[in-house]
């Protein structure tokens, strides 16, 4: 059951996005195709659009969780907007000691079970690398974004490696792509993207090189 949880959440986001799209007559959909150096579709990448206008549109997300199941962070990569408070529910029988030494957010939740009462506030944009001091193999990422326009490239989407951003107001953006396979501390790939509301759908292609599998 627990595995299904992120799905309704995403659905909610999706619903919200559609609602926004429908609410604005000059918004558009952005289809990003993420491929690696070899031209293969890449899944698990986070694609987001930045601009000053987008920064102003940022609102903290609610009810976001970075769960721990079977000694893994679930999801492995979580993108949130700045100011979002993330819960770290522990669904395992063992205790975890979640920490982050990342500059974007340094914190640790010492040996706990269940869901800690206080969620962690991610108030600075950046990549936060999560680890468990008990279980070295547990690695998780929380991507704190200064934009509400972001999406995950999916392995199962159409086409594979595609990420769809909906209800993106027309304007000029920086299309940025981040993937956990990028070297630690490396900045997200940046490329300019103009979103034209009249076109309905804007297409963009991202080529990620130097990924480690």
């Amino acid at each position: 059951m627990t595995t299904d949880r992120p799905f309704p959440l995403l659905c909610c986001a999706w619903v919200f996005a559609v609602a926004a799209f429908s609410a604005s007559a000059w918004s558009a959909t952005v289809q990003v195709d993420v491929r690696d150096g070899a031209g293969q579709p890449v899944s698990g990448a986070v694609v987001f659009l930045e601009s000053a206008q987008a920064q102003r549109a940022v609102r903290p997300l609610q009810g976001v969780e970075m769960a721990q199941e079977k000694k893994q962070f679930v999801p492995a990569v979580l993108a949130v907007t700045t100011g979002t408070e993330v819960h770290f529910p522990n669904h395992d029988a063992v205790r975890h000691h979640v920490y982050s030494f990342s500059p974007a957010k340094k914190f640790e939740i010492k040996l706990y079970k269940g869901t800690p009462s206080n969620p962690v506030l991610f108030d600075r944009p950046g990549v936060v690398l999560l680890g468990c001091n008990i279980h070295d193999q547990m690695v998780g990422w929380i991507l704190v974004l200064d934009t509400p326009y972001f999406a995950y490239s999916s392995a199962t989407g159409q086409p594979p490696g595609g990420a769809l951003l909906a209800q993106v107001p027309a304007g000029s953006y920086q299309l940025r792509t981040w993937h956990p396979g990028l070297p630690v501390g490396a900045p997200a790939l940046t490329q300019p993207l103009a979103v034209d509301a009249d076109a309905g759908e804007t297409r963009a292609a991202v080529r990620l090189t130097g990924l480690t599998p």
Binding site: Y99, F101, K106, L129, L130, G131, C132, N133, D136, Q137, M138, V139, P183, V184
Partner: protein, 785 residues
């Protein structure tokens, strides 16, 4: 001499050879064992070094593992990771130092994800560290589970590197550990193998910063070559070396593992010493044992040798040793002992035969002479003399001839029996001196005592001896000589006793004491063969003739050849003084030949031929027994062209009777040659007429004792007459000797005797005077009408 005998002795040779063989075997074994020990030791060390290398590598891996664990511990430390992410350099360095110190790391460092050095904690003077790390880090990053060795400050260091995760790799923790003395010591403790670390200086040279070797070996290693498999130490030990490379990059370095050959060989050496001791002990035991064995063989041999030397000296009294032994030596000893006893017995028998007269059981001549010598050697009592009494039985030959030899032998035994009691004093001896001659050795006070013994003997002989039906009167002539009055030595004493004895016989007295007068012309002075030889060679002999005259009508002249010795000092020596001696020694043969040759010379003269001279020559027994006599005489006749018929050979009856068969054969041969033969001294012997008849004799010569006896009347006249008749009946002529006056001559003529010879007619005269006599005085004896 000791050494020489030792070298030749059986014992020494036996032991020597055995010992040499034993030593050779032991030596060969020793050499083989020694070589094999050396080889095995090296093989063993090689195997051990293989193990050493593996252990050494394992030791290094363990060290690396410890380092890795230490590093991992540090890398996992939350605080450290927190410090690293906070870029708190001071904290990071102190954490590094802290953890490095925990495990004794010399170097601890933090590298970033790009493998660049961020923080270093280590001992001072690690200036070369960054350069060294550049060499090892890429390799370590490529294989995080491995380790790398690089040289820093001349000492190899082992490095490990582990990633620092938070949770992804955010850096690397590196730790270094010196491959130093503690590690080498640990290795040494672990395997008791020596370890040395060599570090190259990049220019072909090297240094040895770490070593467990003794200073001397270390110095030798330092001066040795780069490639070293064996290290020969000055002390004689050898170290086998195995190299194991340390640093894979940068400055080359290697660990040398060394093991001593001596250490492995040492127990075997001890074993070898033990073996040597056992060998020496074995050799000693063997030498002792075999010398004892050999002595058991050679000691009896030596004693047997000594025994045979005693035997060869004539000492048969000491029994042989080792006869009780049951082995071969015992057999030999027993056999030797039997030989000793047998030889001793035979020797005694021989001595008995040699010194004892078998017939009478009395000592013989040799024994008697030895007894005299002994008696002379032993000082007699003061005032006592030694006397030798010689006794000769009268007419013994007569007894022998008439009554037979067996009777004669019994007679001699009886005489011995009667003489035996005469030797009363201890040391006295009665001996048979030969034939019918006995000798007594007497210890007496003076000559009178000796004469008294002679009287006793004469009295003992007065009783006649009777065997079976025969009765024989005994009579003897005795001569006595005393020592020291008459002689200085034994031979002279015996000789003079004999002279006295002959004197007694001549004077028909019973006993006679030696008198130098008896000896004036005695045989002793003449009995030198040399004198007689010289006489022949120097022409001292003279031929004398004594004429014979014919009593009946007849022709021709006759004479008997006689021998005289014209001695340069003593004048004319009568034949009685040298003929018996010559007969004894056999020299008479030369004399006979000399006479015969002179006679031949005489007969070859024309004067002798003219008167048809016949000459009689006397032959002795020895002449007659000479098988070549007839040849010799024949050769002389031939040389002087003299006819055998003009020579008459006179032989005494006794000469014939000594060996009648040989005599008869010779006489036959002489008769065939043409010699006339005459029996001399007829009537004194015992020849039978039957025998005479067989002989080729022409003439009988009546002994002068009968002729002289005719003067006193009695039986002799009858004997002469009947002899003449007998001879004539046998066809023999008769010659009478000893005709000393005309009456005898006429009576003989009346008895029809054929010829006469004697002083009445003429004494013997030198041969050269004979013809003159014959022509002058001789004519007076011409045959009576």
């Amino acid at each position: 001499m000791k050494l020489r005998s030792l070298r030749h002795s059986l014992v020494a040779r036996l032991i020597g050879i055995s010992l040499l063989l034993l030593l050779a075997v032991q030596l060969a074994g020793f050499v083989v064992v020694r070589a094999s020990i050396e080889r095995n030791a090296r093989a063993q060390i090689t195997r051990e070094l293989d193990t050493d290398v593996r252990v050494w590598r394992r030791l290094l891996e363990q060290k690396a593992e410890r380092l890795r664990q230490g590093s991992a511990l540090l890398a996992a430390d939350y605080g450290f990771r927190s410090a690293v992410t906070s870029d708190d350099m001071a904290t990071i360095e102190s954490a590094l130092a802290n953890h490095g110190a925990r495990i004794g790391a010399a170097v601890t460092a933090l590298l970033d994800t790009q493998l660049a050095l961020r923080v270093v904690s280590g001992e001072a003077g690690m200036a070369q560290l960054p350069a060294a790390l550049v060499q090892v880090v890429p390799a370590l990053a490529a294989e995080p589970a491995g380790s790398q060795i690089a040289v820093i400050n001349g000492l190899p260091h082992q490095f490990v590197m582990v990633p620092l995760r938070a949770p992804l790799v955010i850096g690397w923790v590196l730790m270094g550990f010196p491959v130093g003395q503690p590690l080498a010591d640990e290795m040494r403790q672990l395997l008791s193998a020596d370890v040395a670390v060599r570090v190259g200086d990049g220019k072909g040279g090297f240094s040895v910063p770490v070593s467990t070797l003794a200073p001397q070996a270390l110095a030798q290693l330092r001066t040795g070559g780069a490639q070293v498999n064996e290290l020969k130490l000055e002390g004689g030990d050898t170290l086998l070396v195995r190299a194991s490379p340390l640093s894979q990059v940068g400055v080359p370095s290697e660990a040398l593992l060394l093991r001593s050959v001596d250490a492995v060989v040492a127990p075997y050496r001890q074993l070898q010493w033990l073996l040597a001791v056992i060998t020496v002990a074995g050799v000693l035991l063997f030498a002792l044992g075999s010398s004892a064995m050999a002595r058991r063989v050679t000691t009896p041999l030596r004693s047997l040798l000594a025994a045979t030397r005693r035997l060869s000296r004539g000492d048969y009294s000491v029994p042989m040793e080792h006869t009780a032994r049951s082995d071969e030596v015992g057999d030999l000893a027993r056999s030797f002992d039997h030989m000793r006893i047998d030889i001793g017995r035979q020797q005694a028998e021989i001595r008995n035969l040699a010194y004892r007269d078998r017939l009478t059981g009395l000592p013989n001549r040799e024994r008697f002479r030895a007894a005299v010598l002994d008696a002379l050697r032993a000082d007699p009592l003061p005032g006592h003399s030694l006397a030798v009494l010689m006794l000769d039985l009268d007419r013994f030959k007569h007894v022998n001839d008439v009554l037979g030899y067996a009777f004669g032998d019994r007679l001699l035994q009886a005489v011995a029996g009667r003489l035996q009691p005469m030797a009363g004093t201890p040391g006295d001896m009665v001996a048979r001196h030969g034939g019918n001659e006995f000798a007594l050795l007497l210890h007496v006070a003076d000559a009178q005592a000796a004469l008294r013994v002679a009287e006793r003997i004469a009295r003992a002989f007065e009783t006649s001896i009777q065997f079976d039906d025969q009765t024989v009167d005994l009579s003897a002539s005795m001569g006595i000589a005393l020592w020291p009055e008459h002689a200085q030595d034994a031979d002279m004493l015996l000789n003079r006793a004999e002279i006295a004895m002959y004197g007694a016989k001549k004077r028909l007295s019973v006993a006679l004491l030696y008198d130098p007068a008896l000896d004036s012309s005695s045989a002793q002075t003449l009995s030198l063969l040399g004198d007689l030889r010289r006489a022949v060679e120097h022409g001292e002999l003279r031929l004398y003739l004594q004429p014979k005259v014919a009593l009946q009508a007849g022709v021709g002249a006759a004479a008997e050849a006689l021998l005289r010795w014209q001695h340069p000092q003593r004048g004319l020596v009568p034949p009685m003084e040298f003929i018996p001696f010559a007969e004894q020694t056999g020299f008479v043969r030369q004399l006979t030949l000399w006479v015969f040759e002179q006679v031949a010379v005489l007969l070859a003269q024309s004067g002798a031929r003219d008167i048809a001279l016949r000459v009689s020559v006397n032959l002795s027994t020895r002449d007659l027994l000479d098988p070549d006599l007839s040849l010799r005489l024949g050769a002389i006749l031939e040389r002087y062209a003299v006819r055998a018929e003009s020579i008459c050979l006179e032989i005494t009856e006794s000469a014939i009777m000594d060996d009648p068969q040989r005599a008869e054969a010779m006489l036959n041969r002489l008769a065939q040659q043409g010699f006339k033969l005459s029996i001399d001294d007829f009537g004194t012997g015992y020849s039978s007429l039957a025998y005479l008849k067989r002989l080729p004799v022409n003439e009988l010569k009546i002994d002068k004792s009968f002729v002289l006896g005719m003067q006193s009347g009695g039986g002799d006249v009858q004997i002469v007459r009947s002899t003449i008749d007998l001879a004539h009946n046998l066809g023999l002529t008769v010659v009478a000797e000893g005709v000393e006056d005309a009456i005898l001559l006429n009576r003989l003529r009346a008895m029809a005797c054929d010829e006469a010879q004697g002083y009445h007619i003429s004494r013997p005269m030198p041969a050269e005077e004979f013809l003159g006599w014959h022509a002058g005085p001789g004519t007076a004896f011409g045959a009576a009408p």
